[in-house]
Protein backbone atom coordinates (compact mmCIF):
# COMPACT_ATOMS: atom_id res chain seq x y z
CA UNK A 1 0.00 0.00 0.00
CA UNK A 2 1.20 3.49 -0.81
CA UNK A 3 2.43 5.64 2.08
CA UNK A 4 0.59 8.81 3.14
CA UNK A 5 3.47 10.82 1.72
CA UNK A 6 3.22 9.06 -1.64
CA UNK A 7 -0.57 9.42 -1.95
CA UNK A 8 -0.53 13.09 -0.99
CA UNK A 9 2.63 13.81 -2.97
CA UNK A 10 1.34 12.24 -6.17
CA UNK A 11 -2.03 14.01 -6.02
CA UNK A 12 -0.54 17.41 -5.27
CA UNK A 13 2.01 16.99 -8.04
CA UNK A 14 -0.79 16.56 -10.60
CA UNK A 15 -2.11 20.04 -9.76
CA UNK A 16 0.90 21.67 -11.41
CA UNK A 17 1.40 22.81 -14.97
CA UNK A 18 4.75 22.53 -16.69
CA UNK A 19 6.87 25.55 -15.78
CA UNK A 20 4.95 26.58 -12.65
CA UNK A 21 6.90 28.45 -9.97
CA UNK A 22 6.09 26.74 -6.67
CA UNK A 23 7.09 27.07 -3.01
CA UNK A 24 7.05 23.83 -1.01
CA UNK A 25 6.90 23.95 2.79
CA UNK A 26 8.97 21.80 5.14
CA UNK A 27 8.02 18.14 5.67
CA UNK A 28 5.38 16.40 3.58
CA UNK A 29 5.08 19.31 1.10
CA UNK A 30 8.80 18.95 0.25
CA UNK A 31 8.17 15.34 -0.83
CA UNK A 32 5.82 16.52 -3.60
CA UNK A 33 8.87 17.21 -5.78
CA UNK A 34 9.57 13.45 -5.88
CA UNK A 35 6.26 12.63 -7.57
CA UNK A 36 6.03 14.98 -10.56
CA UNK A 37 4.38 13.35 -13.57
CA UNK A 38 6.38 12.76 -16.75
CA UNK A 39 6.75 15.98 -18.73
CA UNK A 40 5.89 18.30 -15.83
CA UNK A 41 8.82 20.35 -14.62
CA UNK A 42 8.27 22.94 -11.95
CA UNK A 43 10.61 25.63 -10.71
CA UNK A 44 11.00 25.74 -6.95
CA UNK A 45 11.21 28.98 -4.98
CA UNK A 46 13.08 29.05 -1.68
CA UNK A 47 11.99 32.07 0.36
CA UNK A 48 15.43 32.60 1.86
CA UNK A 49 16.48 33.94 -1.52
CA UNK A 50 16.56 31.93 -4.73
CA UNK A 51 14.63 30.08 -7.39
CA UNK A 52 15.85 26.87 -8.97
CA UNK A 53 16.01 24.89 -5.74
CA UNK A 54 17.56 21.49 -6.41
CA UNK A 55 18.09 18.27 -4.46
CA UNK A 56 20.29 17.67 -1.43
CA UNK A 57 23.96 17.58 -2.48
CA UNK A 58 26.05 14.44 -1.95
CA UNK A 59 27.80 14.34 1.42
CA UNK A 60 30.94 16.44 1.38
CA UNK A 61 29.65 18.72 -1.40
CA UNK A 62 27.48 20.97 0.77
CA UNK A 63 27.94 24.74 0.37
CA UNK A 64 27.48 26.78 3.56
CA UNK A 65 25.62 29.50 1.64
CA UNK A 66 23.21 27.22 -0.25
CA UNK A 67 20.50 26.05 2.13
CA UNK A 68 16.72 25.84 1.97
CA UNK A 69 14.35 27.82 4.18
CA UNK A 70 14.73 25.14 6.84
CA UNK A 71 18.51 25.64 6.87
CA UNK A 72 19.24 22.27 5.22
CA UNK A 73 21.94 22.00 2.52
CA UNK A 74 20.47 21.99 -0.99
CA UNK A 75 21.62 22.84 -4.51
CA UNK A 76 20.71 25.50 -7.06
CA UNK A 77 19.94 24.08 -10.50
CA UNK A 78 21.30 25.54 -13.77
CA UNK A 79 19.16 28.57 -14.64
CA UNK A 80 18.58 29.41 -10.98
CA UNK A 81 18.72 32.94 -9.62
CA UNK A 82 19.55 34.46 -6.22
CA UNK A 83 18.03 37.59 -4.69
CA UNK A 84 17.44 39.43 -1.42
CA UNK A 85 14.49 38.95 0.94
CA UNK A 86 12.53 41.93 -0.44
CA UNK A 87 12.55 40.46 -3.95
CA UNK A 88 11.87 36.98 -2.60
CA UNK A 89 8.67 38.21 -0.96
CA UNK A 90 7.77 40.45 -3.90
CA UNK A 91 7.71 37.21 -5.91
CA UNK A 92 5.44 35.70 -3.25
CA UNK A 93 3.02 38.56 -2.63
CA UNK A 94 3.07 39.88 -6.17
CA UNK A 95 1.21 36.88 -7.55
CA UNK A 96 4.28 35.47 -9.32
CA UNK A 97 4.09 32.17 -7.45
CA UNK A 98 1.70 29.68 -9.07
CA UNK A 99 1.24 27.75 -5.85
CA UNK A 100 2.40 27.23 -2.30
CA UNK A 101 2.12 23.82 -0.63
CA UNK A 102 1.99 23.81 3.16
CA UNK A 103 0.99 21.61 6.07
CA UNK A 104 -1.77 22.60 8.48
CA UNK A 105 -2.74 22.25 12.11
CA UNK A 106 -6.31 23.19 11.18
CA UNK A 107 -8.16 24.24 8.05
CA UNK A 108 -11.84 25.12 7.84
CA UNK A 109 -14.87 25.36 5.53
CA UNK A 110 -14.16 28.99 4.68
CA UNK A 111 -10.60 28.23 3.61
CA UNK A 112 -9.07 29.65 6.78
CA UNK A 113 -5.72 28.14 7.71
CA UNK A 114 -4.00 27.76 11.09
CA UNK A 115 -0.47 26.38 10.94
CA UNK A 116 1.86 28.67 12.85
CA UNK A 117 1.15 28.59 16.57
CA UNK A 118 -0.54 26.85 19.49
CA UNK A 119 -0.92 29.49 22.23
CA UNK A 120 0.96 28.54 25.38
CA UNK A 121 2.57 25.54 23.68
CA UNK A 122 4.25 26.25 20.41
CA UNK A 123 5.09 29.78 19.26
CA UNK A 124 7.83 29.40 16.64
CA UNK A 125 6.80 32.47 14.64
CA UNK A 126 5.16 32.63 11.24
CA UNK A 127 8.35 32.97 9.21
CA UNK A 128 7.23 33.32 5.60
CA UNK A 129 3.99 31.35 5.96
CA UNK A 130 1.60 34.32 6.21
CA UNK A 131 3.05 35.96 3.10
CA UNK A 132 3.01 32.67 1.17
CA UNK A 133 -0.62 31.97 1.96
CA UNK A 134 -1.73 35.55 1.32
CA UNK A 135 0.26 35.88 -1.90
CA UNK A 136 0.45 32.61 -3.85
CA UNK A 137 -2.11 32.20 -6.66
CA UNK A 138 -3.11 28.77 -5.31
CA UNK A 139 -2.79 27.60 -1.71
CA UNK A 140 -2.58 23.81 -1.43
CA UNK A 141 -2.69 22.09 1.95
CA UNK A 142 -0.84 18.76 2.01
CA UNK A 143 -1.28 16.89 5.28
CA UNK A 144 -2.45 13.82 7.17
CA UNK A 145 -6.22 13.89 7.36
CA UNK A 146 -6.40 13.84 11.17
CA UNK A 147 -4.12 14.82 14.06
CA UNK A 148 -1.89 12.22 15.74
CA UNK A 149 -4.61 11.58 18.36
CA UNK A 150 -7.18 10.99 15.62
CA UNK A 151 -9.01 14.29 16.11
CA UNK A 152 -10.17 16.07 12.94
CA UNK A 153 -8.07 18.84 11.39
CA UNK A 154 -10.62 19.84 8.76
CA UNK A 155 -13.08 21.82 10.85
CA UNK A 156 -16.18 23.98 10.62
CA UNK A 157 -14.14 26.80 12.10
CA UNK A 158 -10.45 27.00 13.06
CA UNK A 159 -9.90 27.50 16.80
CA UNK A 160 -6.16 28.24 16.61
CA UNK A 161 -4.76 31.64 15.55
CA UNK A 162 -4.99 31.95 11.77
CA UNK A 163 -2.14 32.11 9.28
CA UNK A 164 -4.49 33.72 6.75
CA UNK A 165 -8.18 34.21 6.24
CA UNK A 166 -10.03 32.48 3.37
CA UNK A 167 -7.02 31.73 1.21
CA UNK A 168 -6.94 27.91 0.97
CA UNK A 169 -7.88 26.45 -2.44
CA UNK A 170 -7.20 22.71 -2.15
CA UNK A 171 -6.75 20.16 0.65
CA UNK A 172 -4.97 16.89 -0.14
CA UNK A 173 -4.78 14.08 2.42
CA UNK A 174 -4.28 10.30 2.36
CA UNK A 175 -8.08 9.97 2.27
CA UNK A 176 -9.06 12.39 -0.46
CA UNK A 177 -8.70 15.47 -2.60
CA UNK A 178 -10.91 18.41 -1.62
CA UNK A 179 -11.56 21.83 -3.08
CA UNK A 180 -12.58 24.84 -1.00
CA UNK A 181 -15.41 26.71 -2.74
CA UNK A 182 -17.64 29.63 -1.66
CA UNK A 183 -20.29 27.01 -0.79
CA UNK A 184 -17.93 24.95 1.38
CA UNK A 185 -15.50 22.05 0.99
CA UNK A 186 -16.26 19.82 -2.00
CA UNK A 187 -14.92 16.27 -1.96
CA UNK A 188 -13.58 15.81 -5.51
CA UNK A 189 -11.74 12.49 -5.20
CA UNK A 190 -11.39 9.64 -2.75
CA UNK A 191 -8.12 7.77 -2.28
CA UNK A 192 -8.33 4.13 -3.46
CA UNK A 193 -10.22 2.00 -0.93
CA UNK A 194 -11.60 4.96 1.05
CA UNK A 195 -15.37 5.42 1.40
CA UNK A 196 -17.42 8.59 1.73
CA UNK A 197 -18.51 7.39 5.20
CA UNK A 198 -14.89 7.00 6.34
CA UNK A 199 -13.76 10.45 5.21
CA UNK A 200 -16.92 12.04 6.66
CA UNK A 201 -16.34 10.37 10.02
CA UNK A 202 -12.83 11.83 10.17
CA UNK A 203 -13.85 15.35 9.10
CA UNK A 204 -15.67 17.87 11.28
CA UNK A 205 -16.54 20.22 8.41
CA UNK A 206 -19.57 19.33 6.30
CA UNK A 207 -18.23 17.85 3.08
CA UNK A 208 -20.17 18.56 -0.09
CA UNK A 209 -20.39 15.27 -2.03
CA UNK A 210 -20.95 15.68 -5.77
CA UNK A 211 -22.54 12.88 -7.80
CA UNK A 212 -19.53 12.19 -9.97
CA UNK A 213 -16.92 11.68 -7.24
CA UNK A 214 -13.74 10.13 -8.62
CA UNK A 215 -11.08 7.80 -7.31
CA UNK A 216 -7.64 9.36 -7.04
CA UNK A 217 -5.23 8.28 -9.80
CA UNK A 218 -1.99 7.21 -8.18
Amino acid sequence: MASVREIVGKRVARLFKDGDLVNLGIGMPTAVANYLPEGINIILHSENGFIGLGPTPPEGQEDKDIVNAGGQPVTILPGGACFDSAMSFSIIRGGHLAATVLGALQVDEKGNLANWMIPGKMVPGMGGAMDLVAGARKVIIAMEHTAKDGSPKILKQCSLPLTASQEVDYIVTELGFMEVTPEGIVLRELAPGVTVEEIRSKTEADLIIPENIKVMEL
Binding site: F83, A86, G125
Partner: protein, 215 residues
Protein backbone atom coordinates in the same frame (compact mmCIF):
# COMPACT_ATOMS: atom_id res chain seq x y z
CA UNK B 1 38.04 56.41 1.08
CA UNK B 2 39.45 53.35 2.82
CA UNK B 3 36.90 51.93 5.27
CA UNK B 4 38.96 49.00 6.58
CA UNK B 5 39.03 49.21 10.36
CA UNK B 6 40.18 47.31 13.42
CA UNK B 7 38.11 45.25 15.85
CA UNK B 8 38.88 47.99 18.45
CA UNK B 9 37.35 50.69 16.20
CA UNK B 10 34.18 48.62 15.98
CA UNK B 11 33.98 47.97 19.74
CA UNK B 12 34.13 51.73 20.32
CA UNK B 13 30.82 52.11 18.44
CA UNK B 14 28.81 49.69 20.56
CA UNK B 15 26.67 50.98 23.45
CA UNK B 16 24.20 49.28 25.75
CA UNK B 17 20.60 49.84 24.65
CA UNK B 18 21.31 50.23 20.92
CA UNK B 19 19.05 48.92 18.18
CA UNK B 20 20.93 46.60 15.82
CA UNK B 21 19.96 45.04 12.52
CA UNK B 22 21.84 41.79 11.93
CA UNK B 23 21.83 40.05 8.54
CA UNK B 24 21.29 36.34 8.08
CA UNK B 25 18.71 33.58 7.73
CA UNK B 26 19.19 30.80 10.26
CA UNK B 27 22.77 32.12 10.61
CA UNK B 28 23.50 31.83 6.87
CA UNK B 29 24.73 35.30 5.94
CA UNK B 30 25.20 36.39 9.56
CA UNK B 31 28.46 38.23 10.35
CA UNK B 32 29.54 35.66 12.91
CA UNK B 33 32.72 37.43 14.08
CA UNK B 34 30.84 40.69 14.69
CA UNK B 35 28.30 38.79 16.81
CA UNK B 36 31.24 37.27 18.70
CA UNK B 37 32.61 40.77 19.30
CA UNK B 38 29.25 41.78 20.83
CA UNK B 39 29.36 38.69 23.04
CA UNK B 40 32.97 39.24 24.14
CA UNK B 41 32.20 42.84 25.10
CA UNK B 42 28.88 41.90 26.74
CA UNK B 43 26.98 44.81 25.19
CA UNK B 44 23.58 44.71 26.94
CA UNK B 45 19.90 45.65 26.58
CA UNK B 46 20.06 45.47 22.81
CA UNK B 47 17.09 45.48 20.48
CA UNK B 48 17.84 43.20 17.54
CA UNK B 49 15.99 43.30 14.23
CA UNK B 50 16.71 40.16 12.21
CA UNK B 51 14.97 37.36 10.37
CA UNK B 52 15.26 34.88 13.24
CA UNK B 53 17.20 34.07 16.41
CA UNK B 54 19.12 31.20 14.73
CA UNK B 55 20.38 28.42 16.99
CA UNK B 56 21.58 28.24 20.59
CA UNK B 57 25.30 28.29 19.72
CA UNK B 58 25.18 30.02 16.35
CA UNK B 59 24.58 33.51 14.94
CA UNK B 60 22.16 35.75 16.83
CA UNK B 61 21.40 32.79 19.09
CA UNK B 62 24.63 33.49 20.96
CA UNK B 63 23.33 36.94 21.98
CA UNK B 64 20.09 35.37 23.25
CA UNK B 65 21.90 32.74 25.30
CA UNK B 66 24.22 35.38 26.79
CA UNK B 67 21.13 37.44 27.78
CA UNK B 68 22.25 40.57 25.94
CA UNK B 69 18.90 41.29 24.35
CA UNK B 70 15.96 43.32 25.61
CA UNK B 71 13.82 42.90 22.53
CA UNK B 72 13.86 41.05 19.21
CA UNK B 73 11.84 41.94 16.12
CA UNK B 74 11.96 38.76 14.01
CA UNK B 75 9.86 36.42 11.89
CA UNK B 76 10.88 33.15 13.54
CA UNK B 77 12.25 31.92 16.88
CA UNK B 78 11.44 28.21 16.59
CA UNK B 79 14.99 26.97 16.02
CA UNK B 80 16.27 28.51 19.26
CA UNK B 81 14.43 27.14 22.33
CA UNK B 82 16.21 29.64 24.59
CA UNK B 83 14.38 32.53 22.87
CA UNK B 84 11.03 30.91 23.65
CA UNK B 85 12.06 30.23 27.23
CA UNK B 86 13.12 33.85 27.83
CA UNK B 87 9.94 35.09 26.14
CA UNK B 88 7.73 32.93 28.36
CA UNK B 89 9.71 33.96 31.47
CA UNK B 90 9.16 37.64 30.63
CA UNK B 91 12.90 38.25 30.19
CA UNK B 92 12.82 39.05 26.49
CA UNK B 93 10.25 40.94 24.47
CA UNK B 94 9.52 39.23 21.14
CA UNK B 95 7.73 40.97 18.28
CA UNK B 96 6.90 38.44 15.57
CA UNK B 97 6.59 39.93 12.08
CA UNK B 98 5.74 38.06 8.87
CA UNK B 99 9.00 37.63 6.95
CA UNK B 100 7.96 39.57 3.87
CA UNK B 101 6.58 42.38 6.00
CA UNK B 102 9.83 42.50 7.97
CA UNK B 103 11.86 42.78 4.75
CA UNK B 104 9.68 45.63 3.48
CA UNK B 105 9.68 47.48 6.81
CA UNK B 106 13.48 47.44 6.76
CA UNK B 107 13.57 48.49 3.10
CA UNK B 108 11.22 51.38 3.96
CA UNK B 109 13.61 52.49 6.71
CA UNK B 110 16.41 52.84 4.20
CA UNK B 111 14.33 54.10 1.30
CA UNK B 112 12.73 57.11 2.97
CA UNK B 113 9.27 55.56 3.05
CA UNK B 114 6.93 55.85 6.02
CA UNK B 115 5.60 52.34 5.60
CA UNK B 116 3.84 49.94 3.29
CA UNK B 117 0.40 48.47 2.65
CA UNK B 118 0.47 44.66 2.68
CA UNK B 119 -2.29 42.04 2.46
CA UNK B 120 -0.21 39.73 4.67
CA UNK B 121 -1.69 39.30 8.14
CA UNK B 122 -5.20 40.58 7.36
CA UNK B 123 -7.67 38.53 9.42
CA UNK B 124 -4.93 37.27 11.79
CA UNK B 125 -3.53 38.48 15.13
CA UNK B 126 -0.89 40.40 13.15
CA UNK B 127 -3.50 43.04 12.32
CA UNK B 128 -4.00 43.91 16.00
CA UNK B 129 -3.50 47.64 16.60
CA UNK B 130 -2.77 48.38 12.95
CA UNK B 131 -4.63 50.64 10.58
CA UNK B 132 -6.51 48.84 7.78
CA UNK B 133 -6.68 50.60 4.45
CA UNK B 134 -8.77 49.58 1.46
CA UNK B 135 -7.36 50.18 -2.02
CA UNK B 136 -9.24 49.09 -5.15
CA UNK B 137 -11.50 46.88 -3.06
CA UNK B 138 -8.71 44.98 -1.31
CA UNK B 139 -7.84 45.31 2.39
CA UNK B 140 -4.27 46.00 3.47
CA UNK B 141 -2.45 46.55 6.75
CA UNK B 142 -0.37 49.67 7.22
CA UNK B 143 3.06 48.52 8.39
CA UNK B 144 5.63 51.06 9.58
CA UNK B 145 9.28 51.54 8.63
CA UNK B 146 12.13 50.17 10.76
CA UNK B 147 15.51 51.80 11.35
CA UNK B 148 18.51 50.94 13.48
CA UNK B 149 21.53 52.54 15.11
CA UNK B 150 23.87 49.95 13.61
CA UNK B 151 23.56 47.29 10.90
CA UNK B 152 25.90 44.30 11.04
CA UNK B 153 26.30 42.96 7.50
CA UNK B 154 27.94 39.84 6.07
CA UNK B 155 29.41 40.13 2.58
CA UNK B 156 31.27 37.67 0.40
CA UNK B 157 33.48 40.33 -1.16
CA UNK B 158 34.01 43.97 -0.27
CA UNK B 159 36.29 46.51 -1.86
CA UNK B 160 37.97 48.97 0.48
CA UNK B 161 35.37 51.66 -0.34
CA UNK B 162 32.54 49.37 0.79
CA UNK B 163 31.09 48.05 -2.45
CA UNK B 164 29.66 44.65 -1.59
CA UNK B 165 28.96 41.33 -3.26
CA UNK B 166 26.91 38.65 -1.49
CA UNK B 167 26.97 34.92 -2.13
CA UNK B 168 23.94 32.67 -2.88
CA UNK B 169 21.40 32.52 -0.02
CA UNK B 170 23.69 34.50 2.28
CA UNK B 171 22.31 37.68 0.71
CA UNK B 172 18.81 37.58 2.34
CA UNK B 173 18.29 40.67 4.57
CA UNK B 174 21.85 42.06 4.25
CA UNK B 175 21.34 44.52 1.34
CA UNK B 176 18.14 45.87 2.94
CA UNK B 177 19.71 46.35 6.36
CA UNK B 178 22.75 48.05 4.82
CA UNK B 179 20.40 50.90 3.81
CA UNK B 180 18.46 51.24 7.06
CA UNK B 181 21.01 52.01 9.79
CA UNK B 182 22.97 55.08 10.90
CA UNK B 183 26.19 53.08 11.01
CA UNK B 184 26.86 50.11 8.72
CA UNK B 185 29.58 47.64 9.71
CA UNK B 186 30.53 44.91 7.24
CA UNK B 187 32.29 41.62 7.81
CA UNK B 188 33.63 40.41 4.47
CA UNK B 189 35.14 37.03 3.58
CA UNK B 190 37.43 38.70 1.10
CA UNK B 191 38.56 42.32 0.81
CA UNK B 192 39.80 43.64 -2.53
CA UNK B 193 41.18 46.94 -3.80
CA UNK B 194 38.97 49.61 -5.32
CA UNK B 195 38.58 48.81 -9.00
CA UNK B 196 38.78 45.05 -8.54
CA UNK B 197 34.99 44.70 -8.52
CA UNK B 198 33.10 45.13 -11.79
CA UNK B 199 30.46 47.84 -11.12
CA UNK B 200 27.93 45.47 -12.74
CA UNK B 201 28.42 42.90 -9.98
CA UNK B 202 28.16 45.28 -7.01
CA UNK B 203 25.01 44.47 -4.99
CA UNK B 204 25.32 47.12 -2.28
CA UNK B 205 26.96 50.41 -3.32
CA UNK B 206 29.82 51.44 -1.04
CA UNK B 207 28.13 54.73 -0.09
CA UNK B 208 25.98 52.79 2.42
CA UNK B 209 28.98 51.25 4.20
CA UNK B 210 31.05 52.85 6.98
CA UNK B 211 33.36 50.20 8.41
CA UNK B 212 34.76 46.93 7.02
CA UNK B 213 36.56 44.09 8.72
CA UNK B 214 37.76 40.76 7.40
CA UNK B 215 35.72 37.89 8.78
Amino acid sequence: MNKICTRKDIVSKFRDGQTLMIGGFLAVGTPESLVDTLVENNVKDLTVIANDTAFVGKGIGKLVVNKQLKQVIVSHIGTNPETGRQMNAGELEVELVPQGTLAERIRCGGAGLGGILTPTGVGTIVEKGKEKITQNGKTYLLESALKADIALIKAYKADTSGNLVYRYAARNFNPLMAMAAQLVIVEAEEIVEVGALDPNEVMTPGIFVHMIIKG
